[in-house]
């Protein structure tokens, strides 16, 4: 019984729905505020993403004629739920809920499920703009997947070098290794991988310089072109929550092992780190860069970012 209650607590409160949504909304709001300040503006209130979501909930949901009704409505819910389950698997510094039953590859694929749910929703809407949008979303996915995979392998080798198998994918093992040997980020051979991961984060989320799939000025919001009302709001919320989850994943992979001994304090540390990561990886490029072109994103990720990750992987492989 208590077990069930704990599960419910995990799913609903921490690190599940409530925590993710609150932190995600705050991070997204902070990002918008910071971008505005960097552009010499005042910027929206901190809770603006939350207002946006609520506003969307109060609107009509129109299902277009060419849409496949069930998938059109199910896709956002499924994507959001899949994302929340990722949060359950990502360890928050030393405090983990279900991270022993998942590994980095699983997380990589669960994040893919989130992207795919958006793509399927867009496809189900039947709009030509959504068609272009999903095509771009997929290209973005291919782009960041290569560096992401290389980073995962580098981290897996680094943390697993001392184990009998020589490698590991297990998040828990990675966090434990960092607790014993210091955070990944402080091993110089991992710094290129960390940089690559910092580049992967905004593209995975679809933040401004890499938001080729939702380019509102070119292709009318792309994947979201036909979404209105609560489903659209849920997609926006998913976007916010993804910001937190990617930051938390970065913390687990590169800054893990720091432990204060108290779960609540650990969560707070992760939130603070997330704010820093959000600022560095999302707000600054957003404020400084114009949107990339599709083929530029692909080229950038498969050459520069993948190159960084590869340097790290080779260094780690050489035992440095």
């Amino acid at each position: 019984m208590t077990n069930l209650l704990w599960t419910m607590f995990h799913v609903l409160v921490f690190p599940g729905v409530l925590f993710c949504v609150v932190i995600g909304v705050l991070l997204a709001g902070l990002d918008r505020k910071l971008v505005a300040r960097m552009q010499n503006r005042v910027g929206p209130p901190l809770l603006q993403p939350w207002y946006d979501f609520l506003k969307c909930c109060g609107k009509e949901t129109i299902i277009p004629r060419h849409a496949r009704r069930s998938l059109f409505l199910a896709a956002p819910v499924l994507g959001f739920a899949a994302l929340i389950t990722v949060a359950l698997f990502v360890p928050v510094l030393s405090c983990s809920t279900y991270s022993t039953s998942a590994d980095l590859v699983v997380i990589l694929y669960l994040l893919t499920v989130v992207g795919v749910s958006m793509i399927v929703g867009a496809a189900a809407s039947g709009s030509p703009f959504a068609g272009v949008g999903l095509s771009r979303e997929m290209v973005a996915m291919i782009s960041y997947e290569l560096p992401f995979v290389l980073v995962i392998l580098a981290v897996g080798r680094m943390a697993g070098a001392t184990t009998p198998l020589g490698v590991t994918f297990s998040l828990q093992a990675i966090v434990d290794w960092q607790a014993a040997n210091g955070s990944m980020l402080f091993h110089w051979s991992m710094i290129p991988a960390a940089l690559a991961m910092l580049f992967v984060i905004p593209c995975e989320i679809g933040m401004h310089p890499f938001d080729i799939a939702e380019a509102e000025t070119e292709i009318c919001e792309g994947t979201l072109a036909e979404y209105s009302g609560p489903p659209a709001g849920l997609f926006r919320l998913t976007h916010c929550v993804k910001m937190y989850i990617m930051c938390a994943l970065f913390c687990a992979m590169f800054l893990g092992g720091i432990s204060t001994g108290y779960a609540a304090l650990d969560a707070l540390v992760v939130v603070v780190l997330s704010v820093v990561i959000t600022f560095v990886t999302m707000s600054v490029p957003h404020a400084v860069c114009a949107r990339f072109k599709v083929e530029q994103v692909f080229k950038f990720y498969w050459t520069v970012v993948a190159g960084l990750a590869l340097i790290s992987l080779i260094l780690v492989w050489l035992g440095l």
């Binding site: 910071l34 300040r37 960097m38 010499n40 503006r41 005042v42 910027g43 600054v284 400084v288």
Partner: protein, 155 residues
């Protein structure tokens, strides 16, 4: 990219350049700004020049005859039709049209955008009969003669 970056980061510690406007008074427009039309009906002579030069034809004139023979003339400027070119003001001989610096032309009803003025144009006096004209002529000639006589006397 580096200059943008330094600028962006510098902006974080600078006060934003944003106006406070929706809270508080709207800022003043620049000198010479052509905003909402102000019409002075009291000086208007109803020459109609403004209507002739108005490209978007934003004025509407209604002429309403009054029982005493005067005319009630209403000139209405539709601010949602005006291009604020200031042509009417330039051509107005009596300077009874001017463009203010009030740019806040926002409203929900069509009436919010109308600027109108009314004045009463006096009816001209009635026509004179030939006798009256002859009398007046005689008066004038008499006056002329008196003048000439006076000059002679002085000279």
């Amino acid at each position: 990219m580096i200059p943008y970056l330094t600028k962006a980061l510098g902006n974080l510690f600078r006060a934003p350049a944003t106006e406070k406007f929706p809270k508080g008074e709207p800022p003043k427009a620049a000198p010479g700004y052509r905003g909402r039309i102000i019409y002075h009906p009291e000086t208007c002579v109803n020459c109609g020049m403004c209507m002739r030069v108005c490209a978007p034809q934003c004025m509407e004139r209604t002429i309403e005859p009054l029982p005493n023979g005067d005319q009630k003339i209403t000139l209405t400027f539709d601010m949602t039709s005006c291009t604020f070119c200031s042509m009417c003001a330039d051509f107005c001989a009596r300077k009874s049209i001017e463009l203010s610096d009030d740019y806040m032309i926002v409203g929900t009803q069509p009436e919010d955008f109308l600027v109108s003025g009314t004045f009463i144009k006096k009816a001209p006096p009635p026509k004179m009969t030939p006798e009256q004209i002859a009398e007046l002529k005689a008066k004038a000639e008499a006056a002329k003669a008196a003048k000439a006589a006076a000059e002679k006397a002085n000279g």
